[in-house]
């Protein structure tokens, strides 16, 4: 079985700070990581490989430095890695990104495509389902577990109220929750291997897609403007003993008719 896992390099958003003077993002020194849901997806694929045997290919679209997360995936146990990198991909929104990935996937023809539910830099959860539609494949999102029997996957999908059990035959697309799959550690042998293996570099010429659907010109949505949130004016601040704090809170809650 051939499994392709789509992964993304993202800034660790929990480390981003805002410059209090200029109100702009401080990105310097913010580490880049493999997106957590994608890493969960890679773990799902590697577990299927452990149980049933499979070739696991990881693919990412990004700048040349995204090579790092592909090496990390090698060290975890991936067999093959592809970096989609080309100026023609730049400025892509989710739809154009999904078109580029779908173009590569048409060439790879996998039995199973796995992606993370969403990336922590955008939180859109769109690229997986969009890719599935371009490829005319069924999708299951919010995946917490997947078991394979023959060509049939039995999948647990999380919902607000609980979960659903779904069945689907391969080929299909699953988008996975990080919380459901604890990624394995890289092995020492894996890390050594990771730097000996070749990361394949693919340009837009190598994939099967209409070039008009790529990058900025293939993106229906555009950023009109971006800004940091104007912070709300802080209210009153008191440094007091707990007894006085009780009085302050009760008085305010009465004044605001909350109690």
């Amino acid at each position: 079985m051939n499994i392709v896992v789509c992964i993304k390099q993202v800034p660790d958003t929990t480390e981003i700070k805002i410059n209090p003077v200029t109100g702009t993002l401080i990105r310097d020194g913010v580490p880049s990581i493999m997106n957590p849901d994608d890493k969960g997806g890679l773990e799902l694929a590697l577990q299927l490989k452990d149980k049933h045997g499979a070739t696991v290919t990881v693919i990412t679209m990004g700048p040349p430095q995204a090579d790092t997360i592909l090496r990390e995936a090698f060290a975890m146990g991936a067999d093959r890695a592809i970096l989609l990198t080309d100026r023609r991909f730049a400025g892509a929104d989710t739809l154009a990104t999904s078109n580029a990935l779908a173009g590569a996937l048409r060439t790879l023809k996998p039995d199973l495509i796995v992606a993370g539910r969403q990336a922590i830099d955008g939180d859109t959860a769109q690229v997986g389902p969009q890719m599935a539609e371009h490829l005319d494949l069924p999708q299951i999102s919010y995946v917490a577990n997947a078991e394979l029997s023959g060509k049939t996957l039995t999948v647990r999908k999380e919902t607000e109220e609980g979960y659903q059990m779904l069945e689907v035959d391969t080929p299909c697309v699953l988008t996975v929750l990080a919380s459901a799959y604890n990624p394995r550690y890289m092995t020492v042998a894996g890390i050594i291997d990771a730097y000996e293996k070749e990361v394949e570099i693919w340009s837009a010429d190598k994939i099967d897609v209409d070039e008009a659907k790529l990058g900025l010109k293939g993106s229906p949505t555009k950023v009109f403007k971006s800004f940091t949130k104007g912070s709300k004016q802080p209210g009153e601040l008191h440094e007091v003993e707990p007894e006085q704090a009780v009085e302050l809170i009760v008085a305010k809650l009465k004044e605001k008719f909350i109690i």
Binding site: P11, T13, T14, I16, L25, T94, L95, S98, D121, G122, D123, T124, A125, Q126, P129, Q130, A132, E133, H134, P138, Q139, I140, S141, Y142, K157, E158, E160, E161, G162, Y163, Q164, M165, E167, V168, C172, P220, T221, K222, V223, S226, F227, T228, K229, S231, K232, P234, E236, L237, H238, E239, P242, E243, A245, V246, I249, V250, K252, L253, I258, I259
Partner: protein
């Protein structure tokens, strides 16, 4: 015919309209007024026609109904065919979808099918003075806000998280028409089979519906600490909420989490106890009507959004406050 009108996907589950659908109708009315257009609800399901009346009361001028056994339970392809065919036939200018596990599965599938843009998890939607649809959303984990436009493709689609927009007052006298839509299903594409739907018992009220939230963070620290917060919340008639740190630590369940990766809340009173106020947390609660924050660190960022900030020892404060409030509530 050119594209017009503001459409809302009126999500229902087991014949119950989801609150987010009514919230979206409230927003759709504002947008439609600015564009001088109508509000249309798309209602898909099986034996759901009685829900149309509610959708009209909350702001729909028309309800387009797709009522088929194929649509009894949500499945991606069945719903994508029904809603997709409605959109293709009716040509809306704007389509709003709730950012639930259903809407976030259906929305991107539709955007790819219709080759148009979809902006996820918007927190603000407005028509600019030039008549352009502006969709504003947080990015980089809530660190940055981006206003997105979709100038050249139609319809312009966005998803909105539950609790972000406000419902309009229902008006039982409002009039609206119900139009049945004939879906031409291609069942060869129905490739996902639903085996079982499991609902887990949730005894407590959903935190997005609570009027009062008593939220605890790292400063509360333990299950014992949260038991005291439960008691305080009970006294106030509210619910307990938490920050990501306590969910990651396994102290509190995820459905109690407020913030970028949790829920967005806007209660009348938000009491933040021992929460430092990471930007991801603030993104989920700063629209609350009144915010009381208690922390031992006077430089905690939570004080930046609090109406009343108190630097004190919360472990001493909570039992005292609970006792005092219990007396006040009896009066």
């Amino acid at each position: 015919m050119s594209h017009k009108d503001v459409y809302v996907f009126a999500e229902q589950r087991d014949g119950a309209i989801q609150p987010v659908a009514l919230e979206l109708l409230g927003k759709a009315r504002e947008l439609a007024a600015a564009l001088n257009q109508r509000v249309v609800a798309i209602l898909a399901g099986h034996q759901v026609e009685p829900l149309a009346k509610t959708l009209v009361e909350y702001g729909a001028d028309e309800v387009v109904l797709a009522d088929y056994p194929e649509l009894k339970d949500y499945l991606t392809e069945q719903y994508a065919q029904a809603v997709g065919q409605i959109i293709i036939a009716r040509k809306p200018e704007i389509v709003l979808i709730g950012a639930t596990t259903i809407g976030r599965d259906l929305g991107p599938r539709l955007s790819a099918r219709l080759c148009t843009g979809l902006t996820a998890d918007c927190t603000r939607l407005e028509i600019s003075p030039e008549g352009q649809f502006h969709m504003t959303r947080p990015a980089f984990g809530g660190n940055l806000m981006a206003t997105i436009v979709c100038p050249d493709t139609l319809p312009r689609m966005s998803t909105v998280r539950p609790g972000v927009m406000q419902k309009a007052q229902p008006d039982a006298a409002r009039k609206g028409e119900v139009t049945r839509f004939e879906v031409k299903f291609d069942s060869s594409k129905f490739r996902v089979r639903l085996k079982e739907t499991v609902k887990e018992q949730r005894a407590q009220v959903d935190i997005t519906e609570a009027k009062i939230l008593v939220a605890g963070g790292r400063g509360v620290g333990s299950k014992e600490g949260f038991a005291k917060l439960e008691s305080l919340a009970h006294t106030l008639g509210g619910e307990v909420a938490t920050s990501r740190a306590m969910v990651d630590a396994g102290v509190m369940p995820h459905d109690r989490q407020v913030g970028q990766t949790g829920k967005t809340v806007r209660p009348q009173l938000y009491m933040a106890l021992g929460i430092s106020g990471a930007i991801q947390h603030l993104a989920g609660m700063e629209e609350s009507d009144y915010i009381v924050a208690v922390n031992k660190d006077k430089f905690a960022p939570i004080f930046g959004v609090a109406d009343l900030g108190i630097v004190t020892d919360l472990h001493k404060l909570v039992p005292m406050l609970n006792e005092r409030l219990a007396k006040e509530m009896q009066k």
